[in-house]
Each structure stands twice: as C-alpha cells, then as structure tokens.
C-alpha cells in the first residue's frame, strides 16, 4: 500500500495530482491519500481530508511506501519505521506554504537511506515506477542527539 500524506496544515494539489495521474495510468488502487482538503477528483481512490493520530500511525505502519510533502514529522516517522519515503518539498512561489523551509528540510534528509527527494515533480512518476524496489532506512535512534538531551537535562536540573 502506498500512503500519500500532505500533513495537517495545507493541501498540496501539485503532488496529489501527480500521484493520482500515475495511479490512474498504471491501474493502481492500493493507495491511501490524506489530502488536507484537495477538492478535485481522486479517481475513487481511498482518501481522507485529515487523519487522527491513531489512524495516521496505523497507515504509516502498514504502508510499503510513503509519498509525502517534506514535513519533518513524516520523514522522521518513516526513518523510524524503515519505510521508504518519497518526498516533495512545497514551494512558496506556488502558494504551497508560507516559505521554502521544506527545501531545507529535504536537503537535510536527502542522501539518508530510505529518503528519496523529488526536486522536480516531473521526476515523480519515474520514482513511483520503481517504488516497489526502493529500500527503507535501517531504522534510526529513537531519541534526539545526546548533546541536546544533556542540555535539556542540565536545564531541568538547574531549578533553584
């Protein structure tokens, strides 16, 4: 199953349209699309505007591949689960977000095992064609960097 998710804030028509066009062309129906309010046709594919935490976690766990905007939470969840994720950063110039911070996020994660960044939406179908062969991450440490944890511990311990 391919879990397509755009996060809790804004719709992302450019990515959804590209995924739906690909699914239609290949007769794929094993998708679930969380779209945050995308109004156009989803070709009868299973979808939801938003998901509660439990459903979202379940779909994340069941997914063979995740296609998502470059949201930090989604990428971290995929790395933790070992699910390959194809990510598309949102562009502010297209009204997809307030700024281009998702490009920095995508750059930060690009090159990690299991993360596939789509810089040009025209490249998305090609990656989806070989999605079944993509490897996920080997899992990551479930905690923050030790120096960050230590800074927080020191901060808490410094009370009066």
């Amino acid at each position: 199953m391919i879990f397509v998710t755009v996060g809790t804030q804004l719709p992302f028509p450019r990515m959804i349209e590209a995924v739906v066009a690909w699914a239609k062309q290949h007769g794929r129906t094993d998708l679930f699309i969380q779209h945050a309010g995308y109004a156009a046709s989803l070709e009868g594919l299973p979808n939801s505007e938003f998901l509660d935490a439990a459903t979202s976690a379940r779909l994340m766990n069941e997914a063979d591949i995740v296609v998502a905007h470059a949201g930090t939470g989604t990428i971290l969840a995929c790395l933790q689960n070992g699910t390959p994720c194809i990510i598309v950063p949102r562009k502010a110039s297209l009204g997809e977000h307030r700024n281009d911070h998702q490009f920095a996020t995508a750059r930060r994660f690009e090159g990690r095992k299991g993360v596939f960044v789509v810089w040009d939406i025209a490249d998305l179908p090609g990656i989806l064609d070989r999605a079944d062969a993509l490897d996920g991450s080997d899992g990551i440490n479930p905690f923050a960097e030790e120096r960050l944890l230590q800074a927080i511990r020191d901060f808490i311990d410094e009370r009066d």
Binding site: G7, T8, Q9, D52, A53, A54, A57, G71, T72, G73, T74, L76, A77, N99, D100, H101, Q102, A104, T105, R108, I140, P142, F143, A144, E145, E146, R147, L148, L149, Q150, A151, I152, R153, D154, F155, I156, D157, E158, R159
Partner: protein
C-alpha cells in the same frame, strides 16, 4: 538533586512538532512529566505517563485562539510545573508565557524545519524563555552553562535527529 522529582510539562501541537518533542523523552527520565498536545489519540502513545489535551489554534482564528489560551492557562496553573519544554507551535508558546507567571523555567526548542531563521513563535518566545534552542548550528551559539539562562539569546546544542 533534591527532594522531589521535577515536574515537567512537555507540550506541542500534533504532527512534526510532536514527533520531535517525543524524541526528547530520554531527557525527562526521573522527572514527573505531563505531555500535552492537540490530539487526544496521542494519550495512548505516552501512557502510562500523563497526557493533557489542548485545542489547536493559529493566529488567524481569534475565537479558537482565545479558547486555546484559556485551556493552556488552566493546564499550567493546575500543573504548576518546575519546567516547561516546547517544540512549537501556538500551544507551546502560550504555555511558556504562562509558565513564567507560575515560576516555571521555560525552554523553547525550535523545529528542525526552520533552517533559514527561527519560527515566528520561536522568535517571540526567545524574548522571555529561559533557554531558546535552534536545531541548526548556524542559527545559534554553542550552549555554555553560565550563559544558558539568558533570554533573548539563541543557542545550539544538536538536534532531535
């Protein structure tokens, strides 16, 4: 380290902020921690630790925002935490503001998503938070203990990744 376990409130909105907040949980070992977020379904994830629901809001919806502010205020007064830690966004910002009123020490950890500059909430929180951390080295100064309690300065000490 002393008498009782420090009471900690760890608060953020759902989604990416929450995922990052949860990756800090190892720093709260030995603390009496309450988690708070904007989705009741997350209670299961933190059990048996305590969970408190707070409604979500953005700057754009005044009525919802007022409701969020009241609920966060109530939570902070009821809990009287020794320390409050947030990764964002609106609920965490207000928790830090009210935390100062009840004498809590307050920490803002800006989201990993903000590589270019601190988030708007983070910039506002940094004016009064006891410690503001960015997750990007080029946006903050290295943490040194004697400097750590200086509102208005942004520090860097690694990331949630």
């Amino acid at each position: 380290m002393s008498r009782t376990r420090p009471r900690v409130l760890a608060i953020s909105s759902r989604g990416g902020h929450w995922t990052q907040l949860r990756r800090l949980r190892k720093a709260f070992e030995g603390c009496d921690v309450t988690w708070a977020s904007t989705d009741v379904g997350l209670a299961k994830e933190v059990a048996p630790e305590r969970f408190a629901f707070v409604p979500d809001a953005s700057r754009w919806d005044r009525a919802k925002l007022a409701w969020t502010i009241l609920r966060v205020l109530w939570l902070v007064i009821r809990l009287r935490p020794d320390a409050i830690v947030s990764t964002g966004a609106a609920p965490g910002y207000f928790a830090l503001r009210f935390g100062k009123l009840v004498g809590a020490r307050t920490l803002w950890l800006d989201s990993l998503a903000n590589a270019g500059e601190l988030s708007l909430s983070g910039r506002k929180a940094s004016k009064f938070a006891d410690l503001t951390l960015t997750q990007w080295a080029h946006l903050g100064k290295p943490v040194e203990r004697e400097l750590a309690l200086r509102p208005g300065t942004i520090f860097f000490s690694g990331s949630v990744l």
